[in-house]
Amino acid sequence: MSTKNKIEKVKTSNHSLSLGEGQGEAEYSTLNLGPTHPATHGIFQNVLKMDGEIIMDSESTVGYIHRAFEKLAERRPYYQITPITDRLNYCSSPINNMGWHMTVEKLLGVEIPKRVQYMRVIIMELARISDHVICNSVIGVDTGAMTGFLYIFQMRERIYDIYEELCGARLTTNIGRIGGLERDFTPKAWDLLDKFLIDFPPALKEFENLLMRNRIFMDRTINCGPISAERALNYSFSGPNLRAAGVDYDVRVMNPYCSYEEFDFIIPVGTQGDTYDRFMVRQQEMWESVKIIHQAIAKIKKEPEGIFHADVPEFFLPPKEEVYNNMEALIYHFKIVMGETEIPKGEVYHAVEGGNGEVGYYLISDGGRTPYRLHMRRPCFIYYQAYAEMIKGGFLSDAILTMSSMNVIAGELDA
């Protein structure tokens, strides 16, 4: 009697272990992550369908800071569009600015002197460092490591000091002009740059030592929000997020601009496409950027001094003394400011490697004073749609980390 009863008892208790099946409807709760939540680092909303702490499904809502840039651009002369591009990825505005200048220069067929190209490379690589510094230190913050963020931000401040010396602004830089740069690097700018290049590597190394081989950080980020290379390509990922998945696509190498083909640097790639790989790819890219800046400085020293723009008086604003004393300069000044420059008809696409990937401008000109149509390829907008797929089935805390490691910038998302 006893054995039979025992078996039945065990069966009953086994059955009770798999409680849930056929016990009524599964219960899900809805969680609104955003639009204004400190953990989203920007203004966008995610409506999550949660089973306890597991995300079953999600929907992203974007557009909270949409500013109609493409429409605005149809009403502005070419030189007035640069400040709009600042506000796309505002963590690395100079890259957007340069991308826009190069697009217009491609349309106009303006050749830029080598020295100016190298100066632009320096500015763009500084911007890349400042962009990656923010992203990587914020990954640290989201995993609970505030220290790295606070220390490395001094270095971003130093980059902003250099911007300030170059163009007068810090965040929305409006740096450079169509045809070159607005002014030559001042001795103080060179000085700040040299000091930065001395102080930055130890600071970055220190930051790296805090996180890179940190057991807690690695356990937290490895296998968190991964995406395969095939899915990433199908979603048109670009930049560090694509490279973390293992695809070595970098616009600087594949379609070189600003003489990038003369520089010696590597494209770091990951394998898993998870948060740790994205972190590591950005980290390595900062080291590469430092290398590129050193090379650019060496190259500039070989170029004739004092050149900071191409010789295109019809597109590049003359210096003020010239305007007051020289008839031609006055005419060009007037024509440029009034947007009366001769812009050829045409259709161009130009892309640069931004902080987040391929920042492209698709420009159609009908010969008028403003673009007929300007479309901006914003990498964030394109890869953020994969977010729902990447966080599905994971924990809420991993979703936060995935978002910060993808470096979703609201300005670039919404345009």
């Binding site: 491609k106 009034m338 696409y349 492209g360 394109i382």
Partner: protein
């Protein structure tokens, strides 16, 4: 570039016959105009063709030409072959009276939000899109603001004279 133009053109002609309309060489990339109804098949063909393998959708943009009677809208698809570094543009033209375009979301997942954006701003209806609704503008909006008939400035304002400034 010229080689790419002829290669893609001959393949498209062989595959689609009348569906291929024209090709031009731009400053930067070759451009092909195809029939609107075939766009999904064309993109799919270029994706699967072993030689061309355009498997990366760089971007998409709609262009509105109000004066171009019968072909008021154009949608541009920019494709990229990452392994050989080839880029092309595919364009379709159609009338504003019929703004239905086959969706290419079945080929590229990235087209999802891109098409939603074009729908939002130009009112292009992408047939077969899984979730065609506004993306950047608010849902209550009743018009598609990037169309040329919607001026940027309020038309009733009299303090701004457009003779000297603006388009």
């Amino acid at each position: 570039m010229e080689a790419l133009l002829t290669a893609v053109e001959s393949k498209l002609k062989a595959q689609f016959g009348d569906g291929f309309i024209s090709s031009t060489m731009n400053v930067d990339y070759p451009e092909f105009v195809v029939k609107r109804d075939l766009i999904c098949e064309v993109v799919d063909f270029l994706y699967k063709d072993e030689e061309l393998a355009f498997q990366y959708l760089t971007t998409m943009a709609t262009i509105h030409y109000p004066e171009n009677a019968g072909q008021e809208f154009a949608v541009m698809y920019q494709l990229h072959n990452l392994s050989k570094n080839l880029r092309i543009r595919i364009k379709i033209f159609f009338s504003s009276s019929d703004v239905n375009v086959p969706s290419i979301t079945s080929v590229f997942s990235a087209a999802n939000w891109m098409e939603r954006q074009e729908f939002d701003f130009f009112g292009i209806i992408f047939r077969g899109h899984p979730n065609l609704k506004r993306i950047l503008n608010m849902d209550e909006m009743t018009y598609h603001p990037m169309r040329k008939e919607y001026a940027l400035e309020d038309g009733t304002r009299e303090d701004k004279d457009d003779k000297m400034f603006g388009r």
